[in-house]
């Protein structure tokens, strides 16, 4: 029995092929940019890129969970701004310590996620609409709290985002990477993760199986909010200042990363590891294009094309493996 189980796991070539595909695309991008620009491929470039993106990584992780249960969270960019506004106001105007300000930031963003979840799931309103409302509301509160001012915090908080000796990666990146690993583990190894995937596949079937789906769905929106709070802390230490204008359009970057990683917008399918690769692909692409001196217009056109091609490839892959499963039965 045990052997059969292990073999079936190894047989799961779909996941493996997808990992390899993502890594392949990354290598290809690096190769292209290295041939176009002599400055691109240097050992120090990689940590440089990675240290810029921990905030997008954790937000995309939350987005992956929300997409898996068949929802969407458009408020993530605004929650990032609200979180950093909270930190800025508490530290600069009220002299709070960084740690206590960060805790309040997490609680605020988490509460916003919880509210979106309760409304969307409880009142059966599509999460698209509820989080669109939350996008405006939390951005509004961010302006209101800060009087639309940037707040400079200073180098006291920078240490989290500075490269650590030897490895060259920042603590913030390592935290983000741990979030990726833990969430992937939760998704594949725990009951919570199993229910998330089941809910996204067919919420009615889960309900009729006697599972109360409400707490799970609300929890996912709350986690997404909390991760936005974490992203706000990361961005604050990177800059090191806070800005109520920050994070505009971030929800789209996060969704793009998830989609490049093969997460289905229809719910029920997704992988946090692949989302991580998705973020890497987007940022390597953007850094690379900036290095070769591409104009803003060119950058956007290429990024958009990559997103669409990724989804097409994913659809082809899906069909290929679905077909294989079918023939195996007969």
């Amino acid at each position: 029995m045990g052997i059969e189980f292990v073999r079936a796991r190894l047989d799961d070539r779909g996941a493996l092929v997808q990992y390899m595909g993502m890594v392949g695309v990354l290598i290809m991008l690096v190769a292209i940019f290295s041939s176009l620009s002599e400055h691109f491929f240097r050992p120090q470039t990689i940590p440089l890129i990675l240290n810029q993106i921990p905030d997008l990584i954790v937000i995309a992780v939350g987005m992956t969970l929300v997409l898996i249960i068949g929802g969407i969270d458009l408020s993530v960019g605004s929650l990032l701004a609200l979180g950093s506004a909270v930190i800025g106001v508490l530290m600069v105007d009220h002299g709070w310590s960084f740690v206590s300000a960060s805790v309040v930031c997490l609680l605020t963003a988490g509460a916003c996620g919880l509210t979106s979840g309760m409304i969307s799931v409880g009142a059966k309103v599509p999460s698209f609409i509820v989080t669109l409302g939350m996008l405006e509301i939390s951005r509004g509160i961010a302006y209101w709290l800060t009087d639309s001012q940037q707040k400079y915090i200073g180098s006291s908080v920078e240490s989290l985002s500075l490269p650590l000796p030897v490895i060259g990666l920042s603590s913030a990146f390592l935290v983000a990477f741990s979030v990726v690993l833990v969430t992937q583990w939760v998704l594949t190894r725990t009951v919570f993760g199993r229910y998330c995937i089941a809910i996204g596949t067919n919420v009615e079937a889960v309900r009729m199986s006697g599972v109360n789906t409400f707490p799970y769905r609300v929890a996912v929106f709350t986690v997404s909010g909390l991760l936005c709070g974490l992203a706000a802390i990361m961005r604050t230490t990177l800059l090191p200042s806070t800005d109520p204008e920050t994070g505009v359009g971030m929800e789209l970057a996060a969704i793009a990363a998830c989609v490049i990683g093969g997460t289905s917008l229809m719910g029920g399918r997704g992988s946090v590891i692949n989302t991580f690769f998705g973020v890497l692909i987007i940022s390597v692409l953007q850094t690379g294009l900036a290095q070769v001196g591409a104009a803003e217009g060119t950058k956007r056109i290429i990024t958009g094309t990559v997103i669409i091609v990724a989804v097409i490839l994913d659809a082809i892959r899906g069909r290929w493996f679905a077909g294989e499963g079918r023939t195996l039965e007969s």
Partner: protein, 517 residues
């Protein structure tokens, strides 16, 4: 299989072929294996040609090829002597080939009238002509005697049976020389089936050729002129219906003589009442209804579609909250009215729903994920980690017990046949060790060879002391499997029949009692 035509095909002259409405020669469809192999078939004007076979025998593939949904790997088709190579469904429709598929294809948010004339809207400059639309839709329904269906109802509000009837009416309203019906009666009541048959016979008299697929062999014998039996993608026999018995068909389909052997019913009904339903009602669809179910008893609930059977089960299970009444379970004196399925499941109830794909299964997930869905807590450690090996072993055990045909329990459910999918749903509740099982149309979309294991399962469950409530449109199924049958008509109980005294006629009479009083 290569596409070398045999001698007979080459010798076939145009004249010879034109005597048939439709002629298929050596149709083969190959995916990884041959799902259809060298099947030839002729259909004459005004003939009803039934195709029977177990699931996976290639019936649906054959239909899809003829109706242009799938292209054959090799083989040729002629319609009235002209070679016929449909590139898609639309092409087939212009050649007069219409198909009514097994799955319902109505668009839920459009009205009945809009569905009936979809793609053929009467319009001027793109503006739909409402009056004309309604006139033509009414005509199409009236021809079928479907005057009780309102044209302005959104299709999603219709019952499954009514949807099926509308779908058939839609196909018949088009230019139709060859009509393919893939299990049209699966969701129909006897009365609706009778009505359908009258209409099909009328079409036959008009010269329409029909390919008719059904698992219900009595129907095939009653209706068809000719029967072709498929097994594993090959034609086993093809004969006039009048010189073919149900037994012979089953033998051809399964290669198994014992399938239709006389089924001896053994009651496992115990004296103690397991489950009491007291006055459960649902405004406008279900009058307050009361009944008891004993331990080990199999209680059938019969009635026409729309008589409130599904509503009764859903109200008991908390899928819809009942307006009145409560249930009392053995060992728990409190009367309960479940507000959610999770409460009902916690109390030991299980429900196998009518529509597997919509509310029974996580179709794209594996057999294991589905089987353990209601029992996750048993495979979890204190911090919520799933013990995968344990989960794998448990679901494999139930796969073996129920003989679910799959490579292993990691296989995705959308690659399983209907019968195997149904077993996965049942496995979910067996793992849960539920005490009361509510079955809504347990063999719908399950082929005849796979119904027997499900019936055997009913017997085993009853023997283990479980209580079963079985809703079915197939009265024979209930007569065969139940200790007792309750008849619902127009939302109330109009009869209760015990095995030792029941007769088919008296039960059928009760079907209509609620509508005539």
């Amino acid at each position: 299989m290569t596409s070398v035509p045999d001698r007979q095909t080459i010798a076939c002259t145009v004249d010879e072929a034109s005597s048939h409405l439709l002629r298929c020669d050596s149709l083969t469809k190959r995916y990884a294996v041959n799902v259809l192999e060298d099947v030839s078939l002729e259909l004459s004007h005004g003939e009803i040609h039934a195709i029977v076979g177990a699931n996976g025998a290639g019936k649906s593939t054959f239909c899809k090829i003829v109706s242009g949904l799938v292209r054959p790997t090799s083989g040729t088709m002629w319609i009235r002597g002209t070679e016929y190579r449909p590139a898609n469904k639309r092409h087939a429709e212009t050649a007069g080939v219409q198909i009514v598929q097994q799955e319902l294809n109505l668009i839920g948010n459009l009205t009945v009238a809009e569905n009936l004339l979809f793609g053929r809207f009467p319009h001027r400059w793109g503006r739909i002509h409402r009056g004309e639309l309604h006139r033509r839709a009414r005509l199409a329904l009236d021809r079928f005697g479907l005057d009780e269906i309102s044209l302005d109802t959104p299709a999603r509000r219709l019952g499954v049976g009514q949807q099926q009837m509308v779908e058939i009416a839609t196909a018949l309203d088009r230019d139709c020389r060859v009509l393919i019906l893939d299990e049209p009666t699966a969701a129909l009541t006897h009365r609706e089936t009778d009505r359908l048959f009258i209409w099909l016979r009328k079409l036959r008299d008009q010269g329409v050729g029909m390919i008719y697929i059904s698992h219900r062999l009595e129907e095939v014998i009653e209706l068809a002129d000719r029967v072709t039996v498929l097994r594993d993608g090959k034609k086993v026999l093809s004969r006039e219906a009048s010189c073919l018995s149900a037994d012979e068909m089953v033998r051809g389909m399964t290669g198994d003589d014992t399938l239709f052997a006389h089924h001896d019913f053994v009651s496992h009904c115990q004296s103690n009442v397991r489950f009491r339903v007291q006055g459960i009602g649902q405004r406008s669809v279900l009058h307050p209804t009361s009944f008891d179910v004993h331990a080990g008893e199999r209680l059938g609930v019969a009635g026409l579609i729309g008589s409130g059977r599904t509503e009764l089960l859903r109200a008991i299970f908390g899928a819809d909250v009942a307006d009145s009444g409560h249930v009392v379970l053995d060992g728990d004196p409190r009367p309960r009215r479940f507000r959610t399925p999770s409460q009902a499941v916690a109390a030991g109830l299980a429900m196998v729903t009518e529509d597997r794909k919509q509310s029974g299964l996580l179709l794209s997930q594996s057999v294991m994920v589905n089987a353990t869905l209601a029992t996750m807590s048993e495979f979890r450690s204190a911090v919520g980690i799933i013990d995968h090996a344990d989960e794998w072993a448990a679901s494999t055990r139930y796969r073996d017990q129920l003989a679910i045909r799959c490579r292993d329990v990691g296989q995705s459910c959308d690659t399983l046949s209907g019968g195997n999918q149904q077993k996965v749903v049942i496995a979910k509740w067996l793992l849960r060790d539920a005490k009361v099982f509510l079955f809504d149309e347990p063999t719908r979309g399950v082929d005849i060879a796979a119904t027997r294991p499900i019936y055997a399962l009913f017997d085993e469950l009853a023997q283990a002391g479980k209580s079963l409530v079985i809703v079915s449109s197939d009265l024979d199924e209930l007569l065969r499997n139940c200790d007792r049958i309750l008849v619902l008509s127009a939302g109330r109980v109009t009869g209760e029949f015990h095995r030792d005294t029941w007769s088919r006629e008296s039960i059928m009479q009760a079907f209509f009692a609620g509508y005539t009083e």
